[in-house]
């Protein structure tokens, strides 16, 4: 139920017009909110995608109390969708799982969940992985970028 309230809040902000441009207001479609969890099961914020067709134009990020944290756009200019990633890269767990498996052949993946790499601003999908040769690790997927989580907290990256 809360995810519906999140979507309503995001739609209201989109229509209100101070966050996204006029083109996005006209052509953007607010989709289902996805919780951002870190670690798994602990909600940190809501990710609300705004799509145009199969492209992800941008997203709202709201706090659990529904305060807006930001609206971030992949569009470099109004109406530009060339630089916008396929929406599946950011909202479809199966697509994300496949990206990890392409990197780590023979690995077994757990359930992907939207999270961040150490810091909330480094939004990425987290995918628990059991390696073919044994051992486990947490992989992150941010668009086309697939990388292993780092534990260091003393760097700006």
């Amino acid at each position: 139920m809360q995810s519906q309230a999140v979507v309503r809040a995001a739609k209201a902000m989109l229509e209100q017009g101070s966050m996204a441009d006029a083109w996005t207001r006209q052509h953007g479609e607010v989709r289902k909110a996805i919780p951002v969890e870190a670690p798994k099961g602990v909600m940190q914020s809501w990710f609300v995608p705004v799509l145009h067709g199969e492209r992800l134009l941008g997203f709202f990020e709201l706090t659990p109390e529904l305060d807006v944290r930001r609206y971030s756009s992949f569009q470099k200019h109004a109406g530009d969708i060339e630089g916008c990633p396929p929406a599946a890269d950011w909202i479809d767990p199966e697509t994300i799982r496949r990206k990890v498996l392409q990197r780590l052949k023979g690995a077994v993946t757990g359930e992907p969940y939207l999270s961040f790499d150490t810091y909330p601003s480094r939004l990425a999908w987290a995918v628990p992985v059991t390696l073919a040769g044994g051992g486990s690790r947490l992989m992150f997927v941010a668009g086309d970028s697939v990388f292993e989580g780092r534990s260091d907290t003393g760097t700006t990256r």
Binding site: S18, M19, A20, G58, T63, D67, V68, R69, R70, Y71, S72, S73, F74, Q75, K76, G83, P85, D117, T118, Y119, S121, R122, L123, A124, F140, A142, G143, D144, S145, F147, R150, D152, T153, G154, T155, T156, R157
Partner: protein
Amino acid sequence: MATRKVDARRAAAFQLNTLHATDALPADRFEGARLGAQGTPIYDINGELLFRRVPLTKKGEVVAFADIAAHPALGDALIAVSHGVEWDERRILKEAITAAKKKRRALRYDTVRFVAYSFPKVAVQFLSKGEEVLMLEWLTWAQVPPSRYQERKKDEPPSNFERWSFLDEMPAATKRARVKRFDEILRQWDARRFARYRVDILDKAKFLDLVRFRLVETYEMHYSSHAGDHQVCFELRGQQTDVWCVAASVQMLLLFYRYDYTQVRLADEMDLGTLNNPNGLPYGDEQKVVDTIEALSSNQLDADMNPSPTFTYYRDELRLNRPIISFIPGHSRACAGFTRNLLAFPGFTPFRGLLIYDPWPPNVGVITRWENFNISSYRHAFRARLQHV
């Protein structure tokens, strides 16, 4: 000292429109009223021109008059606006001359002028060869007695019916402050953005459309500080590895100043490794950002860092059309604009947002409009000031 010539009519007309638009003046009398081009000059006792009394007319009929500064020491353009008392310069002079002849049949004079004998009270002064021969108060036509200035004790105010010089009795520091304020007011209202607006007619709808009460202040980075004649000018660069946000942020800032460096080169300067073996910038190494900006601009950019930037810091720098590199815990971005609500309700913090060019996610990046400053944590901020000759 010679009096500086000032023309405050346009600024006063804006102020009159403001009063009218906010219903501070009776609408039925002032809507459509036209401010006259000429007015009656009113002098100080010391002989300097002080202000002009300018009629406001509607269909040829005088409906009010405005006192408009002619001396900067008045400190504002519009001194007063009055209605209900008729001001007809010719008729007043005729009445004054009649009253003067009644008092002195043999009165000889070559000049008659209006003076603010006890500001803002007005009298008619008769002069012969530059010397006063009689002064009569407007309307009562009582003779204004000679100055008591020499007899008055220090700090003793003038009495009710006494002439005194508004300009000469003003403390020097007060005069300086008023002149400064006056110049600022004229500068604001004479600004180019209002140049095309005709202000001599009071028109509420047009005026509100012109000056719309500003509830939000927003600024985005432009090619130069003359923001009105070109598009927003800042470009996003995604970080090329999952740990090169600092290289990407420095790249965006340098690119704004047309220094086009690759992230590989910038990473080399800041010891961030290579594309195949990259690393982030360790906490404590922030000075490398400053050093890199200066070195790679051949010191044409003077960079520094602020370890605890406030919103005011961001706002002031951005207003000067200078982008900022913004560190938050674990991440770095470029900041190229701000917005803030100017209307604050009790108990609520007005929204304050930053326009963030975020190099994350890798190779793509996002433009965040707006990042809520009130609920975000900020670390260091870096600015670069272009050195001029």
